[in-house]
Symmetry: C2
Subunit: 598 residues, 2 copies
């Protein structure tokens, strides 16, 4: 079983040295100043909780899974107790507003904590994770009364939240959803319908569950413009938040899944359940997107979590497992063979894992800072951050989960046959992680959002906001000899992504299928570019430290070496994505749908 050790040095590198989060925190209207000491204390506490409480429950959570019994869901051994500790540690309210009992710390810090929690035990992390979306949504769109009743409980963690979107016939296409909401005389609604794939939809960890449900009013227009959002509590609360009688929402069954077995994926039946509308009628989808964006970043983090977990397991095994001699002569002459970390192909796998994992961390922590800025910055800061987020969120979600799945599979591969055996835990990372490219919008959906709504939809404006920033970075550093190996390919790719955009955009004006056929290759290109940008910046920080003299020479040298590996061996993937994206839609769409199988 792989043990989890918080990658504290790299977390600190990204937060402090790469992103200068301290400067950023200072500007936030946080109730409590988040200086280095407090930051370190919080990180250390979270690390302890992840390593000592959550990680030990992870394997058993997979083996036992959740049990459904007459509508009740029993979570795996220890999950409930761990959640109790989490509540007692006041973690649910870490980045919630002080007004509702939170600690008012930056949301970006919450993202860091969610990496630690999620790598240690992704299934467990989904329960509190879903609540964060509900908090954001009620904060943004709820009435004062709703905030008073519900937010305190969610922030305390005594209640948890859900997102009830999907129905059997309505997944990516929410316009098809049929759940109904009929107004009652008292201002509440009768909610009816069946939702599926509801994570944390039923469980035994909290006193109450608040379902955020999409449904249609009787007179609602068809499609996505006729969807409203409702709060449907599992138990009806009074005005003080004391739970009362059971609402008529029930868990009909839980899914038997490939992985995340400790996370209950529920069928929820709403049978004239009492619901309360959030915000205006027929604006439910927009409101739900408040949660969806948080959820997309939360799922992008799953990419990082599976990468980190698989990387740690693979490095540990590769340093211990003795098989064959190094091609360049024995490295462990007194042993029967050399540790497999000496073999170039094992190195290639470990370096691929390292370059992607650390690159993802830099990327996602940066996005998290942008979310802070969009929430708290002045108009200009808000606009700049929001534009970048609009562009980068679909990339973060799709690219980090796709590459995370690759890194997870490399973990199995490094362990060989042992990787395929359950007790080693590596295959669980693959199974748990496989859902990440699917839920909260598949890779294909993210790619369409990126190229259609964001890039072409803004006439290229959102794209330029990013490529200009990269361009300026390159201009600032292209004369530095040591940076040349990073800046030149970064600049080239940055320009090429723009050219690719133009080429696709032109074709898409003639035929909209052109955007769809290129979308995923286009997104993946962008992902590798973003990581190149992060790696160039990381190399710069490390080179400066090495120049200035440091006691951590080995650490900073490994950063530069990993950046070099990324640029030499990973970034060339853009070549294939470029060619494939540019090839056009014709070959993709040519075959008649009846002629796929004969």
């Amino acid at each position: 079983m792989p043990e989890y050790t918080t990658p504290m040095r790299d977390v600190q590198f990204v937060l402090k040295e790469l992103l200068h989060s301290g400067d950023h925190y200072e500007k936030l209207p946080s109730e409590e100043a988040l200086g280095d000491d407090l930051l370190d204390a919080i990180l250390n506490e979270a690390a302890k909780f992840a390593e000592n409480v959550l990680a030990p429950l992870n394997r058993e959570g997979d083996e036992q899974g959740c049990q459904w019994q007459q509508g009740e869901v029993i979570t795996p051994p220890g999950f409930k107790e761990a959640y109790q500790q989490y509540v007692e540690g006041a973690w649910p309210g870490l980045s919630a507003s002080v007004e509702y009992g939170g600690q008012g710390l930056p949301g970006s810090l919450g993202v860091v904590i969610s990496e630690l929690v999620g790598t240690a035990n992704w299934s467990w992390g989904m329960y509190p994770g879903l609540s964060i979306g509900a908090v954001r949504c009620i904060e943004a769109h709820g009435s004062d009364e709703q905030k008073d009743i519900y937010l305190n409980k969610l922030v305390e963690g005594t209640w948890t939240g859900t997102m009830c979107l999907t129905e059997a016939h309505s997944g990516s296409d929410l316009g098809l959803l049929r759940s109904k909401a009929e107004p009652r005389a008292d201002g509440s609604y009768n909610i009816s319908g069946t939702k599926i794939f509801i994570s944390a939809g039923e469980h035994d960890m909290a006193e109450n569950i608040l379902h955020m449900v999409l449904a249609r009013l009787p007179d609602a227009p068809a499609g996505t413009k006729g969807i409203s959002l409702f709060i449907v509590p599992k138990f009806m609360p009074d005005h003080e938040g004391n739970v009362g009688e059971r609402n008529s929402v029930s868990c009909g069954s839980i899914e038997h899944k490939m992985g995340i077995k400790g996370s209950a994926t529920c069928v929820l039946n709403f049978d004239d359940a009492t619901g309360f509308m959030v915000g205006e009628a027929n604006t439910g989808l927009t409101q739900m997107f408040t949660m969806m964006n948080a959820a997309r970043l939360g799922t992008a983090i799953q990419g990082l979590c599976m990468s980190e977990g698989a990387y740690q397991g693979a490095v540990a095994y590769a340093r211990e497992r003795l098989q064959m001699r190094a091609l360049t002569g024995p490295k462990n002459p007194d042993g029967p063979a050399d540790p497999i970390i000496v073999h170039p192909d094992v190195r290639r796998m470990l370096m691929t894992q390292k370059a992607i994992t650390e690159g993802q961390r830099a990327f996602l922590y940066w996005i998290a800072l942008l979310v802070d800025k969009a929430a708290y910055g002045n108009e200009q800061e808000y606009q700049d951050a929001d534009n970048l987020l609009a562009l980068l969120t679909p990339i973060a979600k799709a690219f980090c989960t796709e590459t995370g799945f690759e890194v997870a599979n490399l973990g199995v591969q490094v362990l060989g046959g042992h990787g395929y055996i359950r007790e080693h835990g590596m295959e669980q990372i693959v199974r748990d992680g496989r859902i990440a490219t699917v839920y909260e919008g598949t890779t294909g959906i993210q790619a369409l959002d990126l190229i259609g709504r964001k890039v072409l939809g803004s006439g290229g404006k959102l794209l330029k906001g990013f490529t200009k920033q990269v361009y300026h970075y390159c201009q600032d550093h292209h004369k530095e000899d040591a940076m040349k190996e990073f800046i030149e390919p970064l600049q080239k790719c940055n320009k090429e992504w723009g050219d690719l955009t133009m080429a696709i955009g032109e074709k898409a004006m003639e035929n909209p299928d052109e955007a769809g056929a290129a979308a995923v290759d286009y997104l993946m290109y962008g992902g590798y570019l973003v990581l190149a940008y992060m790696w160039a910046q990381s190399a710069k920080v490390a080179l400066d430290k090495l120049d200035g003299g440091t006691e951590e020479e080995a650490y900073y040298r490994s950063k530069v070496q990993t950046a070099r590996f990324y640029f030499q061996r990973i970034l060339p993937r853009t070549l294939s994505h470029f060619a494939s994206a540019k090839a056009g839609a014709e070959a993709v769409m040519a075959i008649d749908e009846d002629n796929f199988i004969f």
Copy 2:
């Protein structure tokens, strides 16, 4: 649950139209002429067995798995009865020699049958699959007495075989194995040691099991040159093959794995078990390679099986699932939405699956013909076929399993959330298939075999045997207008692979790590090139049919369209592999092994 339908049209296309197997069969010294009628009858019977008997057991086999009880292994419901039917149908002896009760049909036909069986139920297929290797090994290296006693039983299928190589500390590095063989006065041996990961090592499907065991004689040299091969029967047979008392080999446990749960993966304890040496002392590894080559082709087939299974499931779902409208306007205006097969990104996934699946089939059936030729051809035919096999077998194994795993995952992706749920069967294909890039030599091991032993080891001779053939094919067809779009990129890649070989070879003379660091990218490049060669030939056959007039216009047109997709959207992956392979070992090897994690 996905139903399995034999892709008979494509099987026939590859066998008859692409590879002209009829001409090939005529030249074989087969006891029974394999004309079209007999071939079709055998294929139809195999299809029925796969579809009606094996496929229905696949899901339950995964859910129930094998059970270990005090050293006995109980296979999943129906497995035993299906095996009985298989034996009654005389399938085990299909391509075994008539002398030992087989039907003497071409081994290449057996490979086709193994695709059908393996797609329907890979776990089940492993039991008879392992026997094929044992038959080949005893045929090639056994004494006449061993052949008399054992071969008839294996060919009948009343006994099955295993390959006992791996030990806990000795996986890819067989030189480390420690199992002992001590000579007895009667010429037999005392075999002692523990073997792990032994597929079909214990089960309830056959009367007896013959373990082919690698072990060391007391005076054996260290390393791979001191390994001998022994037959260790589960039950001791008399000279008529009647099973007698139990030998002292026992199954200590079975592994709990990510997938192939219906296949028993056993720990086998040999405790002074009675064994009989096969062939000469200390030549066990060479003899085992007789089985390993068959096993590598057999595992390559698993790549095709997972591709085919995932492709069928994805197409069926994509044609039925209604979500959103086509970007170019409604295609199903009377329904609530269009089937997702109209969406370009879904198309991209299905076309990727189709292009890889059908390409793999052409590749692997071709290899299977080469195995026939190497076995039965004259000296020149033998040499040509053997040279091609030496080069192409590691590519077939690694490339088809790597791309098969990609296609399997696309199957999950097309189904979205439903793909992650066990009852739909798509995630099982991923779990069952994940082992394929690992066992019978990992992708990394295959790649080292290819670039080290085969390509550089032969001074490029083996490579040229293949690239010359492609070159001549291109010369033969480059003037045909309709073939230009295929021949030009094929020719370019063919030359480029040679250039890449030279570049790596030169660097590897200075530093052997250069070969290792480039190996997997080099192999994958080769795989995409081989598939391009198969697709160019497939397009040519189809174009000729369309030119000549055919009633199957839709079928042949879809072949050409798929070839086009392959060349436009898949073959460009060579660009990345080329750049990455050429980048060299330095960035791969730079980090000190202690500096991966801080």
